[in-house]
Symmetry: C7
Subunit: 93 residues, 7 copies
Amino acid sequence: MIKPLADRVVIRRLEAEETTKSGIVLTGSAKEKPQEAVVVAVGPGGYVDGNKVDMEVKVGDKVLFSKYAGTEIKHQGEEVIIVRQSDILAIVE
Amino acid sequence: MIKPLADRVVIRRLEAEETTKSGIVLTGSAKEKPQEAVVVAVGPGGYVDGNKVDMEVKVGDKVLFSKYAGTEIKHQGEEVIIVRQSDILAIVE
Amino acid sequence: MIKPLADRVVIRRLEAEETTKSGIVLTGSAKEKPQEAVVVAVGPGGYVDGNKVDMEVKVGDKVLFSKYAGTEIKHQGEEVIIVRQSDILAIVE
Amino acid sequence: MIKPLADRVVIRRLEAEETTKSGIVLTGSAKEKPQEAVVVAVGPGGYVDGNKVDMEVKVGDKVLFSKYAGTEIKHQGEEVIIVRQSDILAIVE
Amino acid sequence: MIKPLADRVVIRRLEAEETTKSGIVLTGSAKEKPQEAVVVAVGPGGYVDGNKVDMEVKVGDKVLFSKYAGTEIKHQGEEVIIVRQSDILAIVE
Amino acid sequence: MIKPLADRVVIRRLEAEETTKSGIVLTGSAKEKPQEAVVVAVGPGGYVDGNKVDMEVKVGDKVLFSKYAGTEIKHQGEEVIIVRQSDILAIVE
Amino acid sequence: MIKPLADRVVIRRLEAEETTKSGIVLTGSAKEKPQEAVVVAVGPGGYVDGNKVDMEVKVGDKVLFSKYAGTEIKHQGEEVIIVRQSDILAIVE
């Protein structure tokens, strides 16, 4: 189990079929391509660089995040990404 | 539905005909070209990098924003852009 | 009507004849050329990047600003520029 | 014995076999490759650049950290790395 | 009349003869050449980027400033320079 | 005698033989090579760039520091280095 | 007379003979060469970029400073240098 520190969030990228179902398609020309993902673990927040960060996302949220943000790792056979909450643009409902 | 986080705002670019009606035409030589758009969703504001941000725009506002700001996504067949409120220059009435 | 947000100011550049009348001539060798303009709209000020900004200029003020600052737009047939108040160097009386 | 100052943490990289057992495999294309390590010493925290830092990791924690962070040294025949706590992405349990 | 905003100061460069009289000669090899000038207008100070600035120079002060600082303008036939107070190194008495 | 200002620390690099005795050997590939040294003078700390700095090292401490940090001087026939305390990674005991 | 503003200090470089007497010799390979000087004028300190600066050096102090810091001027036939107090590394006694 991965327990992210501070304002970090572990997310799992949603596959194309899932993306299609949610109705979000990324435009090809966007310099910073957002991506859809589901939240699998959320750090505790708290003070990051002296600023208090409250965590606004929770496990299970479908989110849009910046493609080039974060660090990809493979955990128990599944690829996940560790991002900062500020790299998450929006929650999709 | 897209719920932007923090100080982010979801906007939909106004088409040329709409732009003409509002009387704003962008000059060709401007290095940072502003664009007209309508606000479709507004984040909750709050503390961003330790600074309190109050949201000054609301859904339906016609706004000028910097062309190169934000992230374009296609949501349910419609292109929208996610920007920070500080990328919005002015409200047009 | 353009309502600038935060510490932004909408200004209209003064023509050469107007500039001559006010007695200000810009020197050619200055790296950052100032320009004379008249203020046409003033944002509400308030907190910008966590710092409180009080607006010191008002509609009708003749001001000197940095040539490369701001964003030019054409509004109802007239070119205006949206700058931050901190890009305004001085008021000319 | 190495006693790290401020928000620094001394970690010992886990070998491949250990990594395999924990089920984390790093993907080849990640720009900033995380690595697994075990914490061997923890600084006292306190004020760093004016911000209060509480130490969230403890000796014995298995952690993910950014490959290019920190300074490698050889201490009593064993290679260790001195990183800042903010370079630690997550605790693995 | 030019009324500088915030922490800005309007200065008039002193001619060589004047410089010689005051006994200050600039060395040729200095990377950032200071210059002697006289203060002709002083902004109100106040909060600049969130920091309170008290104005320490007054009209008539002879000052040393950094050559490459500020913006040169010609006002009613006389060249003046608009600098920030922090670009003024010292007062010469 | 050298009395360092603010958060500065005067250190004397330990020779190879001393380093070997303490059991620390630097790895060749490290981009920022740490070095072992002994503290010979400690500044008073206090406010540095607005942040309060308490001095954590004392005269006689054996420390690891970053090779490229600080300024080398020769004082009474002995080479010493003036670093900021934040350039000291750890105390070795 | 030169009255430095804020946290600035006017210093006069010590000649080689003086340097030799004090026992400090600069090593040739140091990237940022310190220099010995004597303090001839001290600014009032106070708030600089929002941070309170107390002046720790006084007229007559022999100090080590960074060679590339500050601005050299010739005042009444004597070369002096205007530096910020933070460019002074240590007092030599």
